[in-house]
């Protein structure tokens, strides 16, 4: 069985920077994306090429999802570039292991390019960026109201009777729980993507390493399964972060019905 490690392997050190194979892998993914983009716009026209059709389908899908979430085309257009980049990056990165020959380039013992999303550092970074952005956007729209969703003092201050004070206390404690739910968003987003991609890799490696007979054709259905789950997880990551951002913006906009 191949050696499976959670941490990315160090390829070389550049001053204080450790360049790991996952980092090189994500550079490779970016390179693929740039190439695809150049190829797809090279002969753009009324009669689209195949690549252009594929990209247009993706763009249409993303746009309709964003419009659904934000309920407003202008806002959706503002968030479109970020979300589309995320989607394309994760889509390609999840399928990194099925790109032929790339993972066979080795330096010494370790391969130079590794699947970027199978390492927790990248997925945590992306999830943190999304959740922090959701918080900052809501804070910029209305700081007081957004903090008010975490520290709900309103019912407590308005309370006049003992029963109302108890009710206000419960609301206050429930509001504090929202802080934990913000933290849980980071963990759930990052672990979901990382777990699925890494598990796909480990599963294929384990099946291939079971015995001599399972080395060539037996892992194929599992490879297909991991490709499928990688596709779905890319969409899930992006759709969920869109939901988080839209939700936090909606929570501070006029007349929050939810206390």
């Amino acid at each position: 069985m191949e050696n499976i490690s959670l941490a990315a392997d160090n390829i070389f050190t550049f001053g204080p920077l450790h360049i790991q194979n996952a980092v090189l892998g994500s550079f490779f993914v970016s390179l693929i994306l740039i190439l695809l983009a150049v190829l797809s716009v090279r002969r753009m026209g009324i009669v689209p090429t195949r690549l252009q059709v594929a990209f247009e389908l993706l763009v249409d899908y993303m746009m309709s999802q964003l419009e659904n979430a934000f309920g407003d085309r202008k806002k959706a257009e503002k968030f479109f570039p970020l979300m589309m980049t995320l989607l394309l990056f994760i889509l390609i990165a999840n399928q990194f292991s099925v790109i032929p020959l790339v993972s066979d380039i080795v330096a010494g013992e370790t391969s130079i390019f590794a699947v970027p999303t199978a390492h927790l550092s990248l997925t945590i970074a992306m999830a943190l960026a999304m959740v922090i952005m959701a918080n900052i956007l809501a804070l910029r729209i209305s700081p007081l109201r957004y903090i008010g969703t975490f520290v709900t003092l309103g019912p407590l201050l308005a309370a006049r009777k003992p029963a109302e004070i108890a009710d206000g206390l419960v609301k206050f404690l429930l509001g504090l729980l929202n802080v934990i739910s913000e933290l849980a968003k980071v963990f759930s987003l990052s672990f979901r993507l990382f777990g699925n991609v890494f598990a796909g890799e480990v599963m294929v490696a384990v099946i291939a390493g079971l015995s001599v007979y399972t080395h060539y054709f037996v892992p194929v259905p599992f490879v297909v399964l991991s490709i499928f789950s990688g596709l779905i997880q890319a969409f899930v990551f992006v759709l969920l972060s869109v939901q988080y951002i839209a939700g936090s913006i909606a929570s501070v906009q006029e007349d929050p019905e939810t206390a």
Partner: protein, 76 residues
């Protein structure tokens, strides 16, 4: 008990117990989606993507236990 044995046992238990919840949950989602499709076959195209997304979210508790298992197996 040997510490290595305890580690392997913990990994197996973690994954096995953690898979119960998502299994039941995904079954419920699939059952309801099938019911909805059976009642109204025209909206199949709308139900299937939503079903897959909600399944992926339901799966996340299973994925958490998987991550813990992988950490126990390969990182400790």
């Amino acid at each position: 008990m040997d510490i290595e044995a305890a580690r392997l046992l913990a990994a197996g238990l973690c994954m096995g117990l953690g898979a119960i919840g998502p299994g039941v949950g995904e079954g419920i989602i699939a059952a309801r989606a099938m019911e909805a499709i059976g009642r109204n076959p025209q909206v199949t195209g709308k139900i299937i993507p939503n079903m897959i997304v909600s399944m992926a979210i339901t799966e996340s508790t299973g994925i958490y236990s998987l991550v813990i298992t992988l950490i126990i197996l390969f990182a400790l």
